[in-house]
Symmetry: none
Subunit: 202 residues, 4 copies
DNA sequence: CATGAATGAGATTTCATTCAT
DNA sequence: AATGAATGAAATCTCATTCAT
């Protein structure tokens, strides 16, 4: 321990504080949470937080940054170029849903605040848009090869993202069926999207 | 004006205040909005708000109630029993997406706050669960008649709801493509869900 | 009724309002009572009060004035000059204690507020001092004739006044023994003051 | 200073705040005094008060508690059992009047508020009643031994208490003669009560 | 005269942030 | 580095008072 560099120890404190913040934000929301609540949860004094973060707002931004870093751990679409779309979908979704399960409380802490404030919404939108661009390009490529039928690639990107986002929201709401059957979703979505509901008989 | 009944005038004031509240909550979020902000937006004095709402919190609950009343204006699943599922889907989605467009700012004002607070989350979950029950029953019935293929009806309900909810979240984020092409979504979703993506060739 | 002069009707309203004010002030105190409370108690609208009193403070002063007018209905000390002091004491006390019983709630409403505020205290002190002057003069006259033994007439005035005031305070506090036996006090006090407690035996 | 225990420093702050509160309450009354007034008087910031008292009301209750603790420093009636009643009276009154002189401003701050509010009145009455019980018992014992002549012991307790209370009220009103001659009162009262005014001559 | 909806000044209280220890 | 007492800006809410009807 004593051998740990000062910087590393500082990082550990930052993480300890951010984790505590995520827990209490998730429970009561950013605004209803006091800096003292966070300090208590982290087991440190109020003032100590300000040695690592310049303001309460900075804590929120720190959590948003964590979420961003997390989002970047994505399967690379480019690498997926060669894969069968259906297989890619299933494995990509499996990865994502696994990640979301681990970090649900981080989303719970952060997403409401992002949605609540016009400025944060804008910042978040930009990042999401960047993420779309890669997906849009890849799907456009596949569309040109006829892999999407006549479904519009841009809408498909948004609808797929929306479905994931909506499931995340329901998870935040602790919807009991989804809580129980979360792992079935990658397979279920893949079947829904690729096979569709049965056409009208006859 | 003079002829207006006292009760009616009171109702009008309530609505005027709730509308103002929705606008400013949507812009800055519930907590960053002061009661004074709301009064300014409504063009009245601070104290007047308290003649119609006993607290700021009560304003939020008033908006949630509006949302609830709005949500109840739903196409009745029972009546839809005889319809072709694909046709029902398209017309139901069209109705819903139209409704959401009208009340997007109400959702923007209220949803983040619901997601932020564990207690509100619980209350909201209960109402959503009630709504599921009707849909679950109807889809189970259709499943027994083979109309859903081998897709699980409970998951289907959640995934469809999640897709709508996720699109709403993207709308709150003012995603530009969706803002532009919102009206295409009922048709797009119906095609996606019923026809699916093309199966792998060969 | 219709024949009643406008002024007289106005006086009646004033009295109605003052009575209502006395009742609610006595219960919750001047500051905890709202103008609306008074209006409700009087069975009129808030604004109507301001047709008869220019402010809430003016209501309090109105009640203090009532108390003052009441205090002036005093047995005239000059007229009592010829009476036996013991007889005067008994009959004077009987009158006073009877008056106090009738107007206890007026005292309850007003006295705390007088004691609470340095300015009102001063005004009240001046009036009490004026009342003392007559009593002081009369007692000094009797002292010169040896009727008080060697008891200082100024202190005697204060102690007698204090005893009455203290009993009033206990009545405000609803002391149960005094509530029950209030009428015995004039006789009791006269016996105590004129006969005294028994001297040490032996 | 540096050596002072945290608890002791906290107690000192509490006392500092209560003292300041007593001073300003005595001057302007509880309700006309703002928390800011108290903070200014104590030489601290508004918010600091709330580190030691959870509300303004709690400050008042704190002062009432101080008064209660003060009232308990009473000469024990039981121990006085053997004393000559006249001697006991004089020394007991001397103690009490000395105490009251020291804490007049505390009474000034608190008594009006107790009298103003029905709920506080009730609480105060109960404590006063408890105090009476000891005195009642002791006087009843002496009455059985004929020490009170035919004076009713219960009324005597109330009248004696009322006299003290009334003198306190006059002191709150800053009656000038009493302010000047306060120390003569124990002796004066003892002479009045035990020797009485002279009987009618002849 | 009477009403009661509207006003807005002012009070209490909270809590992010600072800084002496 | 860590503490936590102190700060004071800012928010919610109350209520005496006004005035159009």
């Amino acid at each position: 321990m004593r051998a740990m560099g000062g910087e590393e120890r500082g990082d550990r404190r930052r993480t300890q504080i951010l984790d505590a913040a995520a827990r209490v934000f998730a429970e009561r929301g950013y605004h209803r949470t006091t800096v003292r609540d966070i300090a208590r949860e982290a087991g440190i004094a109020d003032g100590t937080i300000y040695l690592y973060f310049s303001s309460k707002q900075e804590l929120l931004l720190g959590l948003i940054a964590q979420l961003g870093r997390f989002a970047e751990r994505r399967a690379d679409f480019a690498e997926a170029g060669a894969m069968d779309l259906r297989d890619f979908s299933r494995s990509y979704l499996a990865l994502r849903f696994e990640q979301v399960r681990e970090t649900r409380h981080l989303f719970t802490a952060v997403l409401p605040e992002i949605l609540a404030d016009a400025e944060l919404r804008e910042g978040f939108s930009e990042r999401v848009t960047e993420a779309y661009e890669a997906a849009d390009a890849e799907l456009a490529r596949r569309a040109r090869r006829g892999e999407l039928g006549d479904l519009d690639p841009q809408l498909l990107t948004r609808v797929a993202a929306a479905t994931g986002l909506g499931l995340l929201v329901l998870a935040i709401l602790e919807e009991p069926v989804l809580a129980e059957r979360w792992d079935e979703l990658p397979e279920f979505l893949t079947r829904l999207w690729f096979d569709g509901l049965p056409r009208e008989r006859g």
